[in-house]
Symmetry: C2
Subunit: 256 residues, 2 copies
């Protein structure tokens, strides 16, 4: 009864040849076709067709995902007995929560997101109170947290690979918002700028690990693809939740 069911086949019983590293990586990257950059709400966003209230609704709801990230990453740490992995992975928590360690004084990604909220006209309290977060946003994001808590840490690492596709969507916002949403204070775009570098570094680590660990068998490689799909589904469902909370819709017929 979990969101992603466990792999039925033991790797030892799988006599198929695993995909080569190149093939496996290409299959993971192919999953980008269901990244939420193609969701109608994100398409509207990129085309400058969101109202101020709709953009605010997106920022406010998406904040629930932002605060889930360090909780999810701490779950991975707490499930992981490998100190080397933990020493790399903890950087993600520092990035989001911020830190004041050694010479570094970083307010962190969550604070940057709150400033994005202010840049689109929300108050700090509008964002941090979660008062605009709709139930289906919580259900989707909580599914991701529970996955990281309940599944082996290697699976949770694989679930982070939607970062493969993130630099594109961040760059798109940096490029288009100043023209499309000139009323947004450009200082608010700092979150996206930071993530361009951070996501590239993070995904390098997560991808290297996934390619190695899940290549023990074809069944495990297939499991990694399934996990990445689960995470893509979380992001898509989050976009659905925001769309339904912010848009009037009409049912125009049955799905083809």
């Amino acid at each position: 009864m979990s969101t992603v069911e466990h792999l039925a086949m033991s790797p030892a019983l799988d006599t198929r040849t695993p995909w080569s590293e190149q093939e496996f990586e290409a299959l993971l990257r192919d999953k980008g076709t269901s990244y939420h950059i193609y969701h109608p709400f994100h398409v509207m966003m990129a085309e400058g067709r969101l109202t101020r209230a709709q953009l605010q609704g997106w920022v406010a709801n998406r904040f629930y995902y932002q605060i889930a990230i360090p909780v999810k990453d701490a779950a991975i740490l707490s499930n992981c007995p490998d100190r080397e992995i933990r020493r790399e992975w903890i950087q993600r928590i520092l990035d989001h929560d911020g830190c004041h360690i050694g010479g570094i004084d970083d307010a962190g990604g969550i604070e940057a997101w709150i400033r994005l909220g202010e840049a689109v006209g929300l108050s700090r309290d509008d964002v941090t109170s979660l008062r605009y977060v709709v139930p289906a946003t919580r259900f989707a994001v909580d599914a991701y947290i529970n996955f990281a808590r309940q599944r082996p840490w290697q699976e949770a690492v694989a679930s982070s690979l939607t970062e493969l596709f993130a630099p594109h969507i961040h760059q798109q916002r940096i490029d288009t918002w100043p023209q499309q949403y000139p009323w947004v204070d450009t200082a608010g775009l700092q979150y996206f700028k930071n993530r361009l570098t951070q996501a590239r570094r993070d995904v390098e680590h997560g991808l290297r690990f996934t390619l190695e660990y899940f290549s023990q068998s074809r069944a495990m490689q297939e499991r990694a693809l399934e996990i990445l799909q689960f995470k893509l589904d979380v992001l898509w469902a989050l976009a659905d939740a925001i769309m339904l909370s912010q848009c009037r819709i009409e049912i125009t017929g049955p799905k083809a």
Copy 2:
């Protein structure tokens, strides 16, 4: 980081007078205004406007909720040290899973739902394989299971009170489907007929308990209302998920 945050105020610090039992019950019943009977997809269903494929999609997705019910009820049992409560509550699991005990031989509600699937033209395997269950259905239903697992059993009992509103929607289906969906084998309606009696008996027990237990303070009564709203949100998000999976929609403008 849970779907419904814990009550901040200790009941002992709440000096407000609790609502009377009648007032409290009326407030719980008022929540019926956000029951999913008013969701656009359920309105279409009641008006006979669903296609065969759409009704099948509903039955197949909703099956994921059906199989969650005994899991959720077992979580309540496992968290509850009160044997008297457990002896009443276990009936719900027997109702859904079925049983062959004493003189009783009941195939159970899950089996009845599979037969509803067959009555709308799905195969048993279409239903039980969960192959038509979309991610957002899982996220919403899993939120309910996790709530029952992680919260005190008294809160999980209160979350079952959407049953207050269920007889109406079951009766509606029994009354309208034979005209609206004449192609559905009427034997399939047995699930709804069984639930008319079962839901009335169940809610009697859950409501009596909630009115007494949560009336220790006004803050606890408010918490019960919040919990009922959470469960209504689960059902609504489930209907949203099914709607988006089964209907073409058009975004016609921002929410008013």
